[in-house]
């Protein structure tokens, strides 16, 4: 079927009104050479019942593991049902960008609340309404940080490799040179950083907790940046901010990252949500939509899209980014999640993930042949060196319907634990590791 509403009889009336006898006449401007005479080589249409059954079969080809110890940029956190329910309410789901503020206050207010929550979480002053995902948000933040006539950016090698890939793509586009900062004990090397030629450098980008789960000394890096008049961009896991020092506290004025941990389904990688939070000085440089508070003509408190002069539909080639459609519904959902977990809940999620990871680390490293690769403090992920082949470990885990750690190398794995794991699940995991070893 096709969701065409009009009946044949009505179509006739419409054609008459237009003054033609068939719809094809409307296509007269299309050159004959390209006008299709054969139907598309696709299957015939199906009823929704058949489609749903088919899609169900496809979905069943994916494995949903009972427990997972794999993170690496996409995390299984607990998502309250109320969050799913509220974010699918039809007004939110089926509206477009709130151009008509009078009939979009629900949407606008909820984005304003989202912006506020992100600012609060990061201790910063400005947030936009969303960017596609963490990687693209990092790229946009990089672009925000660029200084005139300085076309080099230093990036930590401990940033998520997929993000580095994206940064390299954006850098190629903008003719920016990327130089990587070495790592030392799994952390961005301050020594290496200090040795860099800063001549044409605009900014430094680090991630904390970094790809390996380690907490970076962002404070020193941001101080170094300030001292050398560089911009410092921190990519941060927002859940960690329930517990760890914030960008704002560390003097970072530009933070960004992936908000998936804040209540979004893992969904094979999307839709996720890139966030950017910054100090006031970036207000007119930040890309994407921003909602601001105002009043209507009757002085009723209300919300509108504001500062649109930054955006492509007004500035065109001079816009700060080309972003138009964004991740509004993801932002709404994260906002609902943040309110559902609330001030205390978000701390608990962070602390619980931290505790689980530390308990597991202790247990794993008690097993012969398993050791931590680096010793630094970490949040909820850590790297284990193992004498056993990681593939073997993961195979054994899979047989128990457990998704094993992220493989970094034949004998190196990135282990992740969130609050979604119970002690029983962790102990079972440890047990299997113990057995594989033998």
């Amino acid at each position: 079927m096709s969701y065409v509403v009009t009946s044949e009889k009505e179509k006739k009336q419409m054609l008459e009104e237009i003054g033609i006898s068939s719809i094809e006449e409307l296509y007269k401007d299309i050159p004959k050479e390209v006008f299709l005479t054969e139907p598309l080589n696709l299957e015939e249409g199906k009823s929704e019942f058949e489609v749903l059954a088919e899609m169900r079969k496809i979905a069943q080809k994916n494995v949903i593991f009972d427990s997972t110890f794999r993170g690496a940029g996409s995390y299984r956190h607990l998502i309250p049902e109320v969050v799913k329910h509220l974010s699918s309410l039809s007004g939110f789901a089926t509206s477009y960008t709130p151009y008509q503020a009078e009939i979009s206050q629900g949407n606008l207010q909820s984005i304003f609340e989202y912006q506020s929550e992100i600012c609060n979480l990061c201790d910063l002053e400005v947030s936009n309404s969303s960017i596609y995902d963490g990687a693209s948000a990092s790229c946009e933040a990089l672009v925000m940080s660029l200084k005139r006539d300085k076309n080099k950016v230093l990036i930590s090698k401990a940033i998520h490799p997929n993000y580095i890939d994206a940064i390299k793509a954006y850098a190629f586009a903008r003719d920016i040179r990327i130089e990587e900062i070495d790592i030392e004990e799994g952390l961005t090397s301050l020594d290496n950083l200090k040795k860099k030629d800063l001549e044409s450098v605009s900014s430094i980008i680090v991630q904390s907790p970094n790809f390996y789960g380690l907490i970076e000394d962002v404070e020193s890096i941001s101080t170094f940046s300030k001292d050398n008049k560089l911009e410092c961009v921190e990519i941060v896991n927002p859940i960690s901010l329930g517990m760890l020092k914030t960008p704002g506290e560390m003097g970072v004025e530009l933070a960004c990252g992936e908000a998936q941990p804040l209540g979004l389904d893992q969904g094979f990688g999307g839709p996720y949500l890139g966030f950017i939070a910054a100090s006031n000085k970036y207000l007119r440089k930040i890309p994407g939509r921003i909602v601001g508070q105002t009043t209507d003509v009757n002085d009723k408190e209300a919300y509108v899209l504001t500062l649109q002069a930054r955006e492509q539909h007004i500035r065109r080639e001079k816009a700060s980014s080309s972003i138009c459609s964004n991740q509004a519904l993801s932002a709404l959902r994260c906002a609902i999640y943040m309110a559902a977990m609330g001030k205390q809940g978000i701390k608990e999620v962070a602390k619980r993930s931290f505790n689980n990871a530390h308990y597991a680390m202790e247990q794993i490293t008690n097993i012969d042949g398993f050791s931590r690769k680096w010793k630094g403090e970490f949040f909820h992920e850590f790297v284990i060196d193992t004498k056993v082949d990681v593939d073997l470990i993961n195979k054994a885990l899979k047989e128990n319907n457990i998704e094993g750690p992220y493989k970094l190398g034949k004998n190196e794995m990135l282990v992740c634990l969130t609050e979604a794991l119970s002690k029983t699940e962790i102990d079972k995991f440890i047990d299997i590791l113990r057995q594989v070893k033998k």
Partner: protein, 475 residues
């Protein structure tokens, strides 16, 4: 309505975590956050009321007609949402092993194959977050393509003045110079094109049907000319809804393309997103696609890294659950349904246009594709009533106004895109309302500059918002 922060009450809680048997681990104080986490404290019931009532203040396609030109606000079939909600899709990690996510790869593969058939491209990927992101990515591919060929002087992108703002913005994000060419009703003037075409041009970006809803008859000549000077042709597929099953951009001579699956393929717009920027290209550009792409090898699906890949533009595979919806829609419509959708989108637009032409000025006469533009300058001149005022008045009739002031080449533009999912009765109702509003303008009995009159909120003080921006609570 009060902000959720204003509803926060100390120690109120919504969600509670499971009990745990794992004790607290110590961490050096220097790592810890000292500032308060200023998130709301709110109970589930109050959270539910807050958002349920906010959703009531948000007009969506499910509430009424939404003929927002260029945005293709189709009705979004509910079965698509049911597909996306299947746990086999929503609860899998993008970092899972290939063998555990064969279903997900199948979704990507099948969508790729179907959309290539519809567009005449050779490969389609879904990593970009939306249309603009796919534009950026495609131009990056084009840039890398010429770099790889050693052709380093192609620094320009030609874009007609009628183009969507994302086109020039995406070009300049890639360091290209934007050459804007004047068009007539969005139709390319071949002579003007000749004037700007040379070896410094990397590509032409074109929307066809264009943003005025017109199909550029000269399309084959245009793409031929562009190719003749060694440049590529980029197709902005935001308007594909007019021509599915009728003609293929690939056959028109385009080398790469983006589709807004959130428009043409009927996934809900979510108050601004997420969408999917599907990116298609001819085979000679495949090596430049963002990594990874999905290939099929003996009945199983694999990821593959194109040799000259521009790398990545999002961390994983784009807005996958949106893609699931689009695939569900594709399967639902099938070969015939897809063509039928386009035909009826065009029929609906022409019907509205024909009827409204009795009351409004049109910047051009003749048939349109899936959308059309009215020019309200005469009302502004004659009565001081702007396109904006007409839109605001429409709100009183519980319908969403059309797109205003776009494309920029038409002053006082109103751009209608009814889409095929609206029935004649809905169009008739909208036409009736617009005629009524014109009568109001002419009679002068109602001051439309004050509209809307019956909505919960009245016109906004936008200047205030911009002059002293308050963009978060409590600052």
């Amino acid at each position: 309505m009060n902000l959720i922060f204003e509803k926060s009450i100390e120690n109120h809680r919504c969600t509670i975590l499971p009990k745990t048997d794992i004790a607290d681990y110590k961490i050096d104080d220097s790592y810890l956050r000292k500032t308060k986490v200023k998130l709301p404290e709110i109970a589930e019931v109050d959270l539910v009321r807050h958002y349920t009532n906010l959703s009531k203040k948000t007009f969506g396609v499910d509430n009424g007609f939404y003929p927002l030109g260029s945005c293709t606000m189709k009705y979004n079939p509910k079965v698509n949402d049911s597909c996306a909600a299947l746990r086999g899709f929503s609860e899998i990690s993008p970092n899972s092993d290939e063998e555990d996510v064969q279903g997900a790869l199948e979704v990507i593969w099948e969508s790729d194959r179907s959309l290539c058939e519809i567009t005449g491209m050779d490969k389609m990927v879904f990593q970009p977050g939306a249309g603009a992101h796919a534009e950026f990515t495609s131009l990056l591919m084009i840039k890398k393509y010429f770099h790889t060929k050693g052709d380093l002087n192609r620094t320009k992108i030609i874009i007609p003045d009628s183009a969507h703002g994302t086109n020039p913005a995406s070009a300049s994000m890639n360091g290209f110079n934007v050459i804007s060419i004047e068009s007539k009703n969005g139709i390319i003037d071949l002579e003007k094109l000749d004037q700007v075409l040379d070896e410094s041009v990397a590509a032409l970006m074109l929307t066809n049907p264009n943003t005025l809803g017109l199909y550029d008859k000269g399309i084959l000549e245009i793409t031929k000319k562009v190719h003749a000077c060694g440049a590529l042709c980029y197709y902005d597929g935001a308007n594909l809804n007019a021509i599915m099953g009728i003609c293929k951009p690939g056959a028109m001579g385009f080398d790469c393309i983006h589709l807004n699956l959130h428009k043409t393929f009927s996934t809900p717009h979510g108050g601004g997103g997420p969408g999917v920027g599907a990116l298609g290209c001819k085979s000679f550009l495949m090596d430049f696609l963002p990594t990874p792409i999905v290939i099929k090898e003996n009945e199983s699906f694999k990821f593959y890294k194109p040799v000259n890949s521009i790398n990545k533009v999002t961390a994983f595979y784009g807005n996958f659950l949106v893609l699931v919806r689009a695939l569900s829609y594709l399967k639902h419509l099938g070969s015939n349904g897809i063509r039928e959708a386009s035909e009826n989108a065009v029929l609906n637009a022409n019907y509205m246009k024909a009827k409204l032409s009795k009351t409004f000025n049109e910047p051009f006469s003749g048939y349109c594709m899936h959308e059309f533009v009215l020019d309200l300058s005469s009302f502004k001149e004659g009565y001081g009533i702007r396109a904006l005022d007409v839109c605001k008045r429409m709100l009183d009739f519980k319908m969403h106004p059309p797109t205003m002031y776009f494309p920029l080449i038409v002053h006082e533009a109103l751009m209608f895109e009814p889409t095929e999912t609206e029935g004649k009765h809905t169009l008739d109702k909208a036409i009736e309302v617009l005629e009524k509003i014109v009568n109001e303008i002419k009679s002068g009995n109602l001051d439309l500059t004050q509209a809307p009159f019956t909505t919960e909120y009245s016109r906004m003080d936008e200047v205030k918002a911009a002059r002293n921006p308050i963009i978060r609570y409590g600052n």
